[in-house]
């Protein structure tokens, strides 16, 4: 064991942690956009980027929402996120670019006409086989 010369490993874990948190349903694209914006602003301080990510979300109530805010919240069995277009007097929020992600234990769907994208389980082996070790 020796010391790490950069704070990037910690930053990666922080990004993963944020993406995993159920209470703050974070769209991965938003998260990565923000990480890159911070990286462009302070490319020499990955440790401070990790600290910023811990403060990335704030809890606000409906009355504090402004048009243009990126918001997300958990709904039964899924997540909603989008950009606030308008907050109505009755407390309903209309969103633009809204995404509703639902999760189901099982689902039967029709496949795409063309091809699937499959997540590779063996990407390291494919890319750099000499770094793959026996269990």
């Amino acid at each position: 064991m020796t010391y790490k010369e950069t704070d990037y490993p910690e930053l990666l874990r922080e990004i993963h942690r944020l993406g995993q948190e159920a209470k703050k349903p974070v769209p991965a694209e938003d998260l990565m956009t923000e990480v890159l914006r911070l990286q462009d602003a302070i490319p020499v301080y990955p440790g401070i980027i990790s600290m910023c990510l811990r403060n990335l979300f704030e809890e606000v109530s409906v009355k504090d929402l402004q048009p243009g805010d990126r918001v997300s919240w958990a709904v039964d069995g899924g997540r909603i996120y989008g950009t606030v277009k308008e907050v109505q007097a009755d407390g309903n929020v209309s969103l633009s670019d809204a995404t509703l992600l639902t999760q189901s234990k099982e689902k039967k769907v029709k496949g795409p006409a063309e091809k699937f994208f499959r997540l590779r389980q063996d990407v390291l082996k494919k890319t750099w086989p000499s770094l793959v070790f026996e269990e």
């Binding site: 020796t2 010391y3 950069t6 990286q39 602003a41 490319p43 020499v44 301080y45």
Partner: protein, 426 residues
Amino acid sequence: MTENKQTVSLEKQTFHLVVGPASFRLVEGGPVEVIGKALTTKETTRVPEGKKMPLEVKGAAKIELSLDGAGKIEPLEARTIPASWDKIVDEIIKRKAKLISILGDVDVGKTFFSTYLSNRLLANGRKAAVLDADIGQSDVGPPGTLGLAMLHEPVLFLSQAVPSDIYYVGAHSPNLHFLQTMSGTKRLIERAFQRGADHLIWNTPGWVAGDGGRDLRKSELEMMWPDAVILMQRKGEVEHLVRTFPHDRVIRLEVSKQASPTSADVRRKLREAISVDYFKNRRLLVLPFDQIKTDRAFILTGQQVETKDVRTLYAERLPLWEGLQVVVKEPLTAADVDKLKKEHNVFRVKQVLAGSEKGAEVGLCDDNLDCLALGIVQRIDLEGKYIECWTPLPVGKEDKVKVVQFGSLRLAFDGREAGFVEPGYL
């Protein structure tokens, strides 16, 4: 800003603390000692915001004092310099310790002690030099550099000593700049002894914990192997740095009760003021490509090539797998990049946005890689084949500039901080 000028009588054998922003001058009487230096009636001392100066009145004296804003003078019960410090000075002289490393957390008084030690060594007729390796809170040389000063007379601030040599690191923190920090430290230590120093006081930055802090401080100790390590700590908090270092070279130093924290805000202000002052006599310098070589950047290190892509202003083929570096008017699409890869048979295309070099801070070095001055890039003209930069380099020295070293700092042309350049971007 309120300013309030007054003459203050100080009784003999008393101690006082001047808190900045303030300035003072000895009018009559004395001696009055500050950080091991005796005041004269000729010089006015300015204490900036965030700094303070303890006065030791050895004989009754009158001082003229101006206080700005939060500036003040307050009586002290006792000397702020622990008696143990003087024993350490004697010890260093007795041991003939040449390289003396000062290690400790931020705000424990490393700069203060370095100043005191320098002044005491000078008073003992020794040739003292200071290597200021604190690139974020620079005392010697501008921020982002390591600075070496050969001391000829006692000083109250190390910043009053004229640097004999500076080394451009290119950042305010050694984080992501370990190697430059190490090579620069090595070069300037050798330089100090070539210049005839009996003792070199090596003041290190207060990054002493965590992976990076431990790694850098420990590797530096291994590489430079100082004759004495002065450990400044309150409760043993930096012992971890010297666990494997010869224990007879480690000297533990009591931290003064007066050592107090400086906020990140004040640090930035202090740093920026030094930078603005450094660049105040700037002029625009044109460095033709055929006079200089670029360093710590990819740009101008490969073979220039032509491309069919109309948005590419300039392209060069870099060595081996580094691929193609292109300077573009606007970011290329993935399809454009693919075309370029095919056209030039490379795996990578590295894009630099035209104009993004503006404000990049650079070190201007001679052919021995000694830093002559810093510069702020106005532009790199790839057609005209020159780099234009703002620099306080003295007139007549422009022909000496042979190497332009890039770093990670971005400045406004007057020296104010304006952000960063990603390492490896240019």
